[in-house]
């Protein structure tokens, strides 16, 4: 099946700074795709090129089979987008905004449905300047859906929201996929990418440095796993140091944690040693690498090149 979005070798330069240096990725129909990277990595520029806010210097962009650089307005008919912050006129109400923006499209959703879906009923006739940050963000999402889009683009959708609002928004985004929308989001939160995205492209310094499912990225990573131990008695560093496969050891009373490259071999050895010394085990965790680990590893590798 053809990809919903195909970006090939995208380039964009601002004066002397090359913000995007040959980015390539595909987004499949019905998935949540994440562009993950630190601030300034080029995620937003990439997204703005795809949705037609910026004119790229090079590369090809195809959205829903349409050449986005040649026919940006056709693409805009098919997509919805919410930017990092959405500004509207102070005195416009959510209902009016939905009607107004609906009039820009050939196909439109009923304002009532959107107000309901994004819990804006109560604030439907309040002016924009009286809405809270979370309400504004929900209105931005509602506006992104005003044309019943195939594809939704969300730029840093949760930045600046409190944890509660953030959790709610995560639910919304998963619901979008369940309703059959394809979603591209950018984020600099590793955990967000890990919970939400079906596939991820990690972007740094304007380039994609890795991509794949979160699982594939973390497992493919050479990184060691994190082992955390809580014992009944204070632990000695010597207990661990002789195990061989131990890195970044931290011992703090009854607690200790370290990285191990082959936990399946190292952990049984550790347990045997504890038993030998008559120390009881209270907790034991073995965690796979997180995206954060992957990211740090990848960027470290890039730096050392």
């Amino acid at each position: 099946m053809a990809a919903k979005v195909q970006v090939r070798n995208l380039r964009k330069r601002y004066g002397p700074v090359e913000a995007v240096r040959g980015v390539t990725f595909d987004i499949q129909d019905g998935e949540i795709f994440g562009l993950l990277g630190p601030n300034g990595a080029g995620k937003t520029t990439t997204l703005e090129c795809v949705i037609g806010l910026r004119e790229p210097d090079g590369g090809t962009i195809e959205v829903c089979g349409i050449d986005a650089r040649a026919r940006p307005r056709d693409v805009k008919q098919r997509i919805g987008a919410a930017l990092q912050s959405t500004a509207l006129q102070d005195k416009i109400t959510p209902r009016e905004a939905l009607v107004l923006f609906g009039s820009f499209y050939a196909q439109r959703a009923a304002p009532e449905t959107l107000l309901e879906r994004f819990s804006l009923r109560e604030k439907a006739d309040a002016t924009f300047d009286t809405l809270s940050g979370g309400q504004r963000q929900r209105l931005a999402l509602a506006l992104a859906f005003v044309n019943k889009p195939d594809l939704v683009f969300l730029d840093e959708p949760t930045s600046g929201l409190d944890p509660q609002a953030r959790r709610e928004l995560h639910g919304e985004i998963i619901k979008m996929r369940d309703d059959g929308h394809t979603v591209l989001l950018t984020t600099h939160y590793m955990d967000e990418a890990q919970t939400l995205c079906d596939r991820i492209a990690i972007v740094n310094h304007g380039e994609v440095i890795a991509s794949g499912t979160p699982e594939a990225l973390t497992s493919r990573s050479s990184s060691r796993q994190l082992v955390t131990v809580v014992a009944s008695r204070p632990l000695a560093a010597a207990t661990f140091e002789t195990l061989g496969d131990v890195d970044d050891l931290v011992v703090d009373g009854e607690r200790a944690r370290f990285h191990a490259a082959a936990p399946t071999r190292t952990v049984p050895l550790l347990l045997a040693r504890l038993e030998q010394r008559g120390i009881e085990l209270v907790e034991l965790h073995v965690q796979k690498a997180t995206l954060e680990d992957v990211f740090i590893e990848l960027t470290a590798a890039e730096r050392s090149e």
Partner: protein
């Protein structure tokens, strides 16, 4: 199209939700109108001569500040960025805002016309043409506003740029200050600003002969507006960070300016600049050089105590292109040769250079509240006045020029507007029967008659340059010339004496009752006495 209409509707709705915008857009023009109404309260037809100025100021404010403020603040906040995510063109966004602004301007204009009519102004003479003229003015200034919006990075920059255009246009562009009271250089400069064409076009449709006569102004406005729209379109930026690096960049501003220059040059070429050729210029006078042909005799000495403004003349269209007052001219040619039997049998050939009479010069007295100091060696009665007194005491060249703002006298070939003519007809019909003009004492009679143009001058009525001619004729018809010369001298030197109750008795002549500074009127009557004296004796023929 649906998108355009929705945006238009929303722009209007949002405007009416913004109290500051309402105050700026509607309350200010209303206040302005009331201020004009008070300022020109003695006009027989309220406000009708000022609709051009009032409506132009309204459009100017809405277009130079209102439009770019809306556009720039929406751009600055990021509203446009959100709109740009949708498949709408920049043209649709901008044109809907401009169209909304035009609707607001029309509403404001109607409000002003309605308010003026509530104050007694008649319905505009050419209503459809008024709408056309108003639209052309809107086009010119909205194009200008668009250029401001594209140039300014933020709202304070809009204010700064707007002021740079707004204030000069008001003051020397012929909008708030009538062209006739501006110095020559400013009149030439004003030809390069759209303001004067706006006033001219609108005024012609309100009480003039319609657009037929102001096609040049209309063309000028549309040209300036089209150039502004073109430049604004090329300079358009979705966000302020987007610099003008692309094609031509700020060079497009030159297109907008080129239109102004082209219009100004065309106007110069057509000789359409000056409204009156002699303009009051208060130059400090070096030792007075008394030459009767010194047409543009400077108004020396203290500046009149009244605020200078606003002479009245009709606005440009009716004014002949050529400079009308180029040579000495007398309206009473018979006054030049002295009559043999006169006590002042030999009128001396006017001398060049001062007669070195540093005596208190009567004309100056008119400008101060204090009574003029009579000449110490002067005659004790009017009958005792001799030619010598006139020569020594009257400094004819220190009276303001006839074409000026105070003490004006129209040149004989200057034609009044039709509505001004109607007022003059009424006055000239009533003047011979006006009781204060028929009192037995000839001195008082002349005083009373001289009060007529003086009051009209203080009130700044549109008839002011023409009334003196009528009154001069009436005076000359009712007092023998030899006596009149002495009486005029007497009044000039003793303007503060005699009965002044006639000042408040002008209603039969069609001049409205109004409070007026009597000292001021007396002062001006003294100055008119000097002017008439100069004409009769040939020492200061009309110019």
């Amino acid at each position: 199209m649906n998108a355009f209409l929705q945006q238009l509707r929303m722009s209007l709705r949002l405007y009416f939700r913004n109290p500051m915008a309402l105050i700026y857009g509607y309350a200010f023009p209303a206040i302005f109108l009331i201020a004009f109404w008070v300022l020109y309260r003695y006009d027989r037809v309220p406000l009708i001569r000022h609709m051009g100025e009032l409506l132009t100021v309204t459009v100017l404010g809405g277009a130079c500040f209102g439009l770019p403020t809306t556009l720039v603040s929406e751009r600055e906040r990021g509203v446009w960025k959100r709109i740009r995510l949708a498949p709408v063109s920049a043209i649709s966004v901008v044109s809907s805002t401009i169209a909304a602004r035009y609707v607001l301007l029309v509403v404001g204009g109607l409000l002003q016309v309605g308010l003026a009519m509530a104050f007694g102004m008649p319905f505009p003479r050419h209503p459809i043409e008024l709408l056309i003229a108003f639209t052309a003015v809107s086009v010119a200034f909205l194009g200008l506003g668009l250029v401001i919006a594209t140039l300014a990075d933020n709202v304070p920059a809009v204010q700064a740029l707007g002021q740079c255009i707004f204030l000069p246009m008001l003051i020397i562009g012929g909008v708030a200050v009538p062209l006739a009271s501006l110095p020559d250089w400013a009149q030439h400069l004003s030809a390069f600003f759209p303001g004067r064409y706006a006033v001219e076009a609108i005024q012609a449709t309100v009480n003039g002969s319609g657009l037929q006569a102001t096609r040049f102004a209309l063309l000028a406005l549309v040209t300036i507006g089209a150039a502004g729209a073109l430049a604004g379109g090329r300079l358009f930026r979705w966000d302020a960070q987007q610099r003008f690096m692309s094609r031509g960049g700020k060079g497009w501003v030159a297109v907008a300016l080129a239109a102004w220059i082209a219009v100004g040059v065309a106007a110069e070429g057509r000789g359409r600049i000056a409204t009156t050729s002699t303009v009051a210029e208060a130059l400090p006078t070096p030792p007075p050089a008394v030459t009767p042909t010194d047409v543009v005799a400077s108004a020396a000495g203290p500046v009149p105590t009244v605020a200078p403004p606003v002479p009245t003349g009709p606005i440009p269209p009716a004014v002949p292109a050529a400079t009308p007052e180029t040579g000495p001219r007398t309206t009473q040619p018979r006054a030049i040769p002295p009559e043999g039997a006169s006590p002042m049998a030999h009128l001396p050939v006017p001398q060049a250079g001062s007669t070195a009479a540093p005596l208190a010069s009567p004309p100056e007295a008119r400008t101060s509240v204090a009574a003029p100091a009579p000449a110490p060696t002067g005659p004790s009665t009017w009958q005792a006045v001799a030619m010598k007194n006139i020569e020594e005491d009257i400094l004819f060249n220190r009276v303001p020029p006839d074409g000026g703002v105070v003490i004006p006298v129209a040149s004989a070939d200057r034609q009044p507007d039709p509505d001004v003519q109607a007022d003059l007809d009424e006055l000239s019909a009533a003047l011979p029967d006006w009781a204060p003009g028929k009192v037995a004492d000839p001195v008082q009679r002349v005083r009373n008659l001289l009060y007529v143009p003086s009051v009209v001058d203080v009130f700044q009525l549109p008839t002011e340059p023409f009334v003196p001619l009528l009154v001069f004729d009436q005076i000359q018809a009712s007092v023998p010339k030899d006596d009149l010369i002495k009486i005029l001298y007497w009044i000039a030197v003793h303007a503060d004496e005699g009965d002044d109750s006639a000042i408040a008795a002008l209603q039969p002549l069609g001049v409205r009752q109004g409070s007026v500074d009597r000292e001021e009127v007396r002062g001006r009557s003294g100055a008119y006495a000097v002017k008439l004296l100069g004409r009769i004796t040939g020492k200061r023929p009309g110019n």
